[in-house]
C-alpha cells in the first residue's frame, strides 16, 4: 500500500476541528482510535442512503468475479468425456446449423487436456486447474447452461454486465446500487477493480450507469497510485491547509445557505464535502490489507507471487463488503496481450488456462473460506463467470475459440444451496441443453437474492420503464429455493 494521506491519528485529530455547522462528533472515538465503524456512521444528506427492498433479501452485498476473455467450461467445471470418443472428428455433422467461429475456420473436436476428479460430498467434478476451489464444491452452485448472444468479447461482456449487447445500458452493479443504496457513507457504493494488467475489453461501459443517473456508475479502484481518482490531495498540500480550506468553504457556504434555506440540493452539496473528506480517510483504510493477519493473507495467497495480485483484490473485496460497500466488481484478466493476459485461449489453451487458474484459484477459495469464517458468506452473493464459454473444437490443435452457446457460471453465498449442478450443456459442451439460462434469467435471480423483484426495479427512460431484464427474465428455481 502506498502512503495514505491521512494517518488514522491525523484524520481523527483534524476531524475534531469539524466542518462548521456539521456535527462530526459522532465519528470520533475519544480514545483516539478510529474504528472502522466510525467510517460507517450515517451522514445526513447521503445520496446513497440505504433504500427498502421489495421483500426480505437473502444477501446484502455482491462480489462479482469476472474472468475476462472467456473461460473454457469444458476444461474447468463441465467435463465432457464424449470428446475423447470424438477426438479429431468434425463437429458440424453432429449438430444443427453452421459452426460459427470468431477467428478463421473451425477445427476438429478436441478433448480437454486436463483431468477431472470428483470432490466433496456432492461429488461434483472439477478439473485439475482448480484444486483449491474444488474443495468448496459443496458451497457452490454450478450453472452449466448459461448462454449468450454474441461471440465478440465486448458485446458478450456487455450482455453479462448489462443484459444488452449494445453500449449505453446500466450495469448490474449500477442497478443494484440504484435499487438498494449503500450501507456505507464513507465509501463508494459500487466499486470496480481491474486486473493489474489492465481493464477488460469494453472499458468503463462494463460498469456504467447507462441511462440511470451517473452517480450509480462503478467507481474504479486503481491497482497503483491513489486508489480513487483525486482521492488524495497532491504533494505539498498539508492536512492543516486542506482542513482550513474546508472550514472556510463550509462557513462561506453556510452564509450562502441563508439566502436559500429551503434548498436541499445546496445542503447536499455541503454534506458531500464531509463525505468526501471522510472518504479520504476511510477509503485508504478500507483497502489497506497490511493490518490483516499473516494467516489471512496466506489463505488469499498474498505470500506467493503468482496469487498475490488477485489475492490482494479478493481480500480488498472482503474488506469493502465488511464496510458496507454494496457491490464489488473484480476483473481477472485484462488488457495487454489478449491471448496471454486474459482467459482468451486461442493459441495455447494449456499454458493460458494453467496460468490464469493458478492466479485465481487459491484467492477465490480463500475468499470463500474467509467470508465463511467471518459469518459473511450467507449475506454476500459471490458470482464467478466470464463473457462466454469456449468451443469443444480446436484452433490449430492447441487453442479454443469463443463459444456463446454455453458456459458455466458459479454462484455461492447468499444462502444458496451448494454442491448442486444446474442445467447442462450438450454432450460436446457446444450448446446449453437442459434448462438454458439467459443473462436476463441470471440477472433476475441476482436481484431476487438481494430482495428485489426484477420486474419492479425500473427507471423511466426513453418513454419506458426500463429494466435490467428488459421484458424477460425467469428466476432460476434451484438458486432461489
Amino acid at each position: 500500500m502506498k502512503k495514505t494521506f491521512w494517518s488514522r491519528r491525523s484524520f481523527l485529530f483534524e476531524s475534531g476541528g469539524g466542518i462548521a455547522g456539521l456535527a462530526l462528533a459522532h465519528m470520533l472515538d475519544r480514545d483516539g482510535l478510529l474504528a472502522a465503524e466510525s467510517c460507517q456512521a450515517a451522514v445526513e444528506g447521503n445520496p446513497f442512503a440505504p433504500k427498502p427492498t421489495h421483500f426480505s433479501p437473502r444477501a446484502t452485498a455482491v462480489i462479482s468475479l469476472f474472468m475476462s476473455g472467456g473461460v473454457s467450461h469444458i476444461d474447468t467445471f463441465d467435463p465432457k468425456p464424449a470428446l475423447q470418443k470424438y477426438a479429431g472428428e468434425p463437429l458440424d455433422d453432429k449438430v444443427e446449423g453452421n459452426i460459427v467461429v470468431r477467428q478463421g475456420f473451425p477445427g476438429p473436436l478436441m478433448p480437454s487436456p486436463f483431468t477431472f476428479q470428483k470432490y466433496g460430498q456432492s461429488g461434483i467434478e472439477v478439473s485439475e486447474l482448480f484444486p483449491h476451489l474444488a474443495t468448496h464444491v459443496d458451497e457452490i452452485a454450478f450453472l452449466r447452461s448459461v448462454f449468450g448472444r454474441s461471440n465478440d468479447h465486448v458485446q458478450a461482456t456487455y450482455e453479462m454486465q448489462t443484459g444488452q449487447l449494445r453500449m449505453g445500458f446500466p450495469s448490474v452493479g449500477a442497478w443494484v446500487t440504484y435499487g438498494l443504496g449503500s450501507e456505507s457513507s464513507s465509501l463508494p457504493a459500487f466499486i470496480v477493480m481491474n486486473d493489474y494488467r489492465g481493464g477488460p475489453l469494453g472499458g468503463p461501459n462494463d460498469w456504467s450507469a447507462g441511462f440511470i443517473p451517473a452517480s450509480y456508475q462503478g467507481t474504479l479502484l486503481r491497482a497503483s497510485g491513489e486508489p480513487i481518482v483525486d482521492l488524495e490531495p497532491p504533494e505539498g498540500m498539508t492536512p492543516e491547509r486542506q482542513r482550513a480550506r474546508l472550514d472556510t468553504l463550509a462557513k462561506l457556504n453556510e452564509l450562502d445557505m441563508e439566502k436559500y434555506p429551503g434548498s436541499s440540493e445546496l445542503a447536499a452539496r455541503i454534506s458531500s464535502y464531509e463525505l468526501a473528506y471522510r472518504m479520504q480517510g476511510c477509503a485508504p483504510e478500507a483497502i489497506d490489507v497490511s493490518s490483516e493477519s499473516k494467516e489471512t493473507k496466506k489463505i488469499y495467497g498474498l505470500d506467493k507471487e503468482v496469487t498475490e495480485p488477485f489475492g490482494r483484490q479478493c481480500l480488498m473485496a472482503r474488506r469493502l463488503v465488511e464496510r458496507g460497500v454494496r457491490f464489488v466488481q473484480l476483473f481477472h484478466g485484462g488488457m495487454g496481450n489478449q491471448n496471454t493476459d486474459t482467459w482468451d485461449a486461442h493459441s495455447n489453451l494449456v499454458e493460458n488456462h494453467r496460468q490464469h487458474a493458478a492466479e485465481s484459484d487459491l484467492p477465490i477459495a480463500g475468499l470463500l473460506t474467509d467470508l465463511r469464517a467471518r459469518g459473511l458468506l450467507d449475506s454476500t452473493l459471490i458470482l464467478w463467470h466470464g463473457e462466454f464459454g469456449r468451443m469443444p473444437i480446436s484452433q490449430r490443435g492447441v487453442g479454443r475459440d469463443h463459444n456463446p452457446g454455453t458456459m458455466t457460471v458459479l454462484m455461492a453465498g447468499a444462502g444458496i444451496k451448494g454442491g448442486q449442478v444446474i442445467g447442462s450443456s450438450d454432450e460436446f459442451g457446444y450448446k446449453a441443453e437442459e434448462q438454458p439460462i439467459s443473462a436476463h434469467d441470471f440477472h433476475a435471480t441476482i436481484l431476487h437474492l438481494l430482495g428485489m423483484d426484477h420486474t419492479k426495479l425500473t427507471y423511466r427512460f426513453n418513454g419506458r420503464d426500463m429494466r435490467l431484464t428488459d421484458v424477460a427474465g425467469t428466476l432460476i428455481p434451484q438458486i432461489i429455493a
Partner: protein
C-alpha cells in the same frame, strides 16, 4: 449462435414457401380441440410466418425438436412439456405473449392432448400471407386516426388569446402570471443587476462575465441596457459553443465509434463545428434540421450541408466484421430513428420497432416506413473540394490503386514459396505432432478432422521480417525494385484534402471491406460477386434504394412486406410527398422528403419540441419536463397554452432560435430572483412548476471547467478546429486496449473550451463524467444533476483545479499586488460577479492571513455559488 438464413430481400420467398409436412394420427382431438387454439394463440409467432426463438409449432417433429429454449413437448408428459407449462402459467414467460390467455378448458385440452401423445393431423395451415398481414398490424385511419389526434401534441399548435393581465406587457409574463394566479402563487421580485448579468452570461455563452464586462454593463444606464446585453452575447462566437453543446447532446455526438475497437473519427469535429456555426449564424431551425437529415440532397447542397449529415452517423458503430453481421445495420437505423424521434419529434418512435407503440398511436408500420426513408444511407468520406477536383482526386487514387495492386500481386508471387517453407518450419516448432501429420498428408488421405486442421494451419501467417531475412539476393533485388515502384506510385498520390464524414444514398451491400471483413464467416450475407452494383452510386440511370422490409417482431431475419417511405401518420397532415426526386438522380429524395416533413409547419411536433428545449435551458425545467417525449407517457405540459403560443411565434419568426432567446429573456419571468422564500408558495408548488421564482441550476460539467479556466485567466478562447486531449492519468488510459487519447500535459494548449475536448465513447473525460456527463451513445434529454462526494474530491484534489486556483491567486497578485482586502474583493468580482459582504470578506481574509492567497482562491472554486447559475 444464429445461423444466418438469407440476405435481406430473399426472406419473404422463404417465408411463403412450402407447406409443412404433417403427421396424421389422431385427427379428431387435434382438429377440433387443439388446432383452433394453435391458430389463435401459437402460430402467429411460432408458425409459418415466423418462428420466434426458433420454435415452430406447426408440426410434431418441429415441436419435439423445439427452439432456442429446448423441446416444447414431451409426448405423454404434459407436466414436463414447456408448451403446457407456459400456457398454464407454470413457467415464465407466460404464453401467449399477445392476446387472451387460454381458458381453463383450453389449458386442460392441451394437457390431455399431450398426455395422449401429442398427435397432429394433416391439414392446411393458415395462409402465410394472411398471417404476415395480421402480424403487421392495422393502419391508423378514419375514426381511430381522428381519436388519436385528440391528444394535444398531435394537433397543430394555435395561439390562444394572451391572458388579459393589465400590469404586465410581455406576453410570456401574462401566460405565466395567469397560471400563477390559478394556483395562488406570488411572483418573486426582479433579481439585482449583477445577478442578472451573471445569469445572462452563463446561460448564453457559458462563461462568467469579467470585471470589465460587469463595469461596462453597470455603466450603461440608458433604457434598453438589458436588451443590448442580450444582443451582445448573442453576437459572441461563444454563444454557439454554449448552445451548440446542447444540441450535441441531442445528436449523441462523439469523436470515436464505440464498442470494442472504439475507432477514431478523425473528421467528426467538422460536424461539431457545423453545429456551433449554425447557432452562431442563427440558422433557421427548419433549415438546420433539413441539412442534418438530407444535406446531400438539397438543391443548394454544399460542403457545409453535407457535413451536417454527420448527425445521422454520429451514433456508435461496431466496425468489425460488419458484413458477417448484417443485422447490425438495423441497429444503426434504429439509432437514427430514435435520435430523430426523440430529438426532433419528441416521440419515442423507436418503441414501435418490434410492435405497435404501447402508449402512443405509432404503428409498427410507421417505424418501417420511416426506416425506408433512411434505408438508402451509406457512410462515406467526402473530400472538401470543388466537385471537379474531388472527382479528379478520386480518379487519380483509383488509378494508383490499380497499378499498385498489380505490383503487389507480383510481390506476393515471389514471396509465396518462402512463406510456405517458413510456415512448415513454424508448424514443426510450435504445433503438436498430430497437427503436423494432418498438414503433411495429401488432401485425399486426410480424415475430415485433419482436413479442418490443415485448412486452419494454412491460414497461419509468417512474419514479414522472417521472409525478408531468407530471400535469395536475386529475389531480394527484384522485390526491392518492385517496392520502389510501389513507393513511387504512392508518392504520386495527390495530397489528401480535408475530408468530411458524410451520409448519402448508395447500396450498403457493396460496402468496401472494413475491419475483419476479409474473412468470410457468412457467405450468404455477401452479395454475389457477379451481381453488378456499387457502394457509392455510379449510375447510369437514376439511383434506386435497396429494398427494405417490415420486420416481424423487429427480427431482421423475419422480413414481411416490402416497405415504401413514409412518416408517423398521426403527425402527418395533408399529403406531403414521401419522395422528392432529385434532378441529378444520384440520390432517392426520400431523406429530403423526410426532412421536409420534419421541418414543416404542418407537423405539430418539431416547433413545440425545440421551443420547449430552449425554455428548459433558460428556465431549468421544460414546460414539458420530458424534453424528448411529448407522448402520453411524457409529463403533461405545465403551461400548455404558452407552449403552443411559443411554437407558433417561433415559426412566425422564421424558426429563429435567437429570436426565442430575446423573447424569453426579456420577460419578467426570466428576470425573477432565485433567492426568494415564500412559505405559502412552497406549500402550494414545492417544485416551482409554475415559476414563482427563478430556478437555480448547477452548471453542466463543461461549464464548470470553462468557468474555472475563465476565472484563473488561463482559458484559450479560440473557436473551432480539431479536438484537444486534456491530461488523463496514464493508469486510466493504460487500462484500455483500444481508443484514441493523444494525452497532452496539463497546460495552456489544452485549456480550450470544453466543447472542444475529444469525446471518446469508451472513456468519458473523468472531470466531465464526475459532473454528470450524459451517456454519449444515445440521444440525451435533460441532463441529470447529482451531488456526490466524488465531485467534491475532484474540486478539492484534482491537479487541474489546484493549478487554476494557483493561477487565479497569481492573477490577483498581479492585478492588485499586496493588498489582501482588494484581492478578496476582486476575487469575488471575478468568480461570482459581486462584492463580498463584510462577514465574507473577514472570513476570507482570515484564511489568507493564516495561510496563503491560493487557499482562498481554491475555496472560491468550490463555493456553491460558483457552481450554480442563479
Amino acid at each position: 449462435m444464429r445461423t444466418v438464413l438469407a440476405p435481406f430481400g430473399f426472406g419473404l420467398a422463404v417465408l411463403l414457401g412450402t407447406a409443412p409436412s404433417a403427421l396424421a394420427q389422431s385427427p379428431s382431438d387435434f382438429t377440433s380441440a387443439i388446432r383452433p387454439i394453435m391458430e389463435r394463440s401459437c402460430w402467429n409467432c411460432h408458425g409459418e410466418a415466423v418462428q420466434l426463438s426458433s420454435l415452430d409449432l406447426r408440426t410434431r417433429e418441429a415441436a419435439l425438436t423445439g427452439g432456442d429454449y429446448g423441446t416444447a413437448i414431451v409426448p405423454g408428459r404434459a407436466e414436463e412439456s414447456r408448451l403446457y407449462r407456459v400456457v398454464a402459467g407454470l413457467e415464465e414467460p407466460a404464453m401467449p405473449m399477445e392476446g387472451d390467455v387460454l381458458t381453463d378448458v383450453e389449458v386442460a385440452a392441451i394437457r390431455d392432448w399431450i398426455n395422449d401423445g401429442a398427435h397432429w393431423d394433416a391439414g392446411t395451415t393458415t395462409a402465410a400471407a394472411d398471417a404476415v398481414a395480421a402480424l403487421e398490424g392495422d393502419e391508423l385511419t378514419g375514426a381511430r386516426l381522428a381519436e388519436a389526434r385528440e391528444y394535444w401534441a398531435f394537433q397543430l399548435p394555435v395561439q390562444a388569446k394572451i391572458p388579459d393581465i393589465s400590469h404586465l406587457d410581455h406576453p410570456l409574463d401574462r401566460f405565466v402570471e395567469h397560471a400563477r394566479r390559478d394556483k395562488d402563487l406570488r411572483a418573486a421580485p426582479r433579481a439585482d443587476a449583477m445577478t442578472l448579468l451573471r445569469r445572462a452570461y452563463l446561460d448564453l455563452i457559458g462563461l462568467p462575465p469579467t470585471p470589465e464586462q460587469t463595469e461596462a454593463f453597470l455603466a450603461d444606464t440608458a433604457p434598453g441596457a438589458w436588451e443590448r446585453l442580450i444582443d451582445r452575447l448573442l453576437a459572441s462566437p461563444h454563444y454557439g459553443e454554449r448552445w451548440g453543446r446542447h444540441w450535441l447532446d441531442v445528436a449523441r455526438y462523439a469523436d470515436s465509434s464505440g464498442f470494442e475497437h472504439d475507432r477514431d473519427r478523425p473528421n467528426a469535429w467538422r460536424y461539431r463545428d457545423y453545429v456551433i456555426d449554425a447557432f452562431n449564424n442563427d440558422k433557421p431551425y427548419n433549415r438546420f434540421i433539413k441539412e442534418q437529415i438530407a444535406g446531400d440532397e438539397l438543391d443548394d447542397a454544399s460542403d457545409e450541408t453535407r457535413i451536417a449529415t454527420g448527425f445521422l452517423r454520429a451514433g456508435p458503430r461496431v466496425l468489425f466484421r460488419e458484413k458477417d453481421n448484417p443485422e447490425r445495420r438495423h441497429d444503426y437505423l434504429d439509432d437514427m430513428l430514435a435520435t430523430i424521434g426523440r430529438g426532433v419529434l419528441g416521440l419515442t418512435v423507436h418503441c414501435a420497432r418490434c410492435h405497435d407503440h404501447k402508449f402512443d398511436p405509432i404503428a409498427q408500420k410507421d417505424y418501417y416506413r420511416m426506416q425506408a426513408s433512411l434505408f438508402g444511407f451509406i457512410e462515406t468520406e467526402y473530400p472538401l473540394l470543388a466537385p471537379a477536383e474531388a472527382e479528379a482526386y478520386r480518379k487519380k487514387n483509383q488509378e494508383i490503386d490499380a497499378k499498385q495492386e498489380a505490383l503487389e500481386e507480383e510481390v506476393a508471387a515471389i514471396e509465396a514459396p518462402y512463406r510456405e517453407r517458413m510456415l512448415l518450419a513454424r508448424l514443426k516448432e510450435q504445433f503438436p505432432e498430430h497437427v503436423q501429420r494432418a498438414v503433411a498428408k495429401p488432401e485425399s488421405e486426410r480424415t475430415p478432422g485433419e482436413q479442418l486442421l490443415a485448412v486452419q494451419m494454412l491460414s497461419l501467417g509468417v512474419p514479414q521480417k522472417q521472409v525478408d531475412a531468407a530471400l535469395t539476393p536475386e529475389d531480394a533485388a527484384r522485390l526491392e525494385e518492385l517496392s520502389d515502384h510501389i513507393d513511387a506510385f504512392e508518392k504520386a498520390r495527390p495530397e489528401k484534402p480535408a475530408m468530411a464524414e458524410i451520409v448519402t444514398d448508395g447500396d450498403y451491400r457493396y460496402a468496401p471491406n472494413g475491419f475483419g471483413d476479409e474473412i468470410v464467416g457468412c457467405p450468404e450475407c455477401r452479395i454475389p460477386p457477379d451481381e453488378p452494383g456499387s457502394y457509392r452510386y455510379e449510375g447510369p440511370g437514376p439511383y434506386k434504394t435497396p429494398p427494405s422490409y417490415f420486420l416481424i417482431r423487429g427480427d431482421p431475419f423475419s422480413p414481411g412486406s416490402l416497405m415504401s417511405p413514409g412518416f408517423v401518420k398521426v403527425a402527418t397532415y395533408g399529403d406531403p410527398p414521401t419522395v422528392i426526386p432529385r434532378p441529378d438522380g444520384r440520390t432517392s429524395g426520400r431523406r429530403l422528403a423526410l426532412a421536409e416533413w420534419l421541418a414543416s409547419e404542418n407537423n405539430p411536433l418539431p416547433a413545440r419540441v425545440i421551443v420547449n428545449r430552449i425554455w428548459h435551458h433558460h428556465f431549468g425545467r421544460g414546460i414539458v419536463v420530458t424534453l424528448d417525449n411529448l407522448g402520453k407517457v411524457g409529463e403533461p405540459p405545465s403551461h400548455p397554452e404558452l407552449l403552443d403560443w411559443l411554437a407558433v411565434a417561433f415559426m412566425e419568426r422564421g424558426w429563429s432560435i435567437k429570436a426565442m432567446h430575446r423573447l424569453m429573456m426579456t420577460s419578467e419571468a426570466y428576470r425573477m430572483a432565485s433567492a426568494y422564500e415564500h412559505p405559502e408558495n412552497t406549500e402550494r408548488d414545492p417544485e416551482n412548476r409554475f415559476l414563482w421564482k427563478y430556478r437555480q441550476q448547477r452548471l453542466e460539467a463543461e461549464i464548470v471547467r470553462d468557468s474555472i479556466m475563465t476565472v484563473s485567466g488561463g482559458i484559450d478562447l479560440t473557436v473551432g478546429g480539431p479536438p484537444v486531449f486534456p491530461y488523463v492519468p496514464e493508469e486510466i488510459l493504460a487500462s484500455q486496449a483500444h481508443g484514441t487519447w493523444r494525452n497532452e500535459p496539463d497546460g495552456p494548449a489544452v485549456w480550450r473550451r470544453s466543447v472542444y475536448v475529444y469525446r471518446r465513447r469508451s472513456l468519458g473525460f473523468p472531470f466531465f463524467d464526475t459532473f454528470d456527463l450524459p451517456d454519449q451513445n444515445i440521444t440525451a434529454a435533460a441532463r441529470n444533476v447529482s451531488t456526490v462526494p466524488t465531485q467534491a474530491l475532484t474540486l478539492l484534489n484534482n491537479p487541474f483545479v489546484l493549478r487554476h486556483a494557483q493561477l487565479f491567486a497569481d492573477r490577483l497578485e498581479r492585478e492588485v499586488p499586496g493588498d489582501v482586502e482588494a484581492q478578496v474583493d476582486r476575487a469575488y468580482r471575478i468568480a461570482v460577479t459581486r462584492l463580498p459582504t463584510e462577514k465574507e470578506a473577514a472570513i476570507a481574509r482570515e484564511l489568507v492571513d493564516s495561510g496563503s492567497l491560493v487557499d482562498f482562491t481554491h475555496v472560491m472554486l468550490n463555493l456553491n455559488e460558483f457552481l450554480y447559475l442563479r
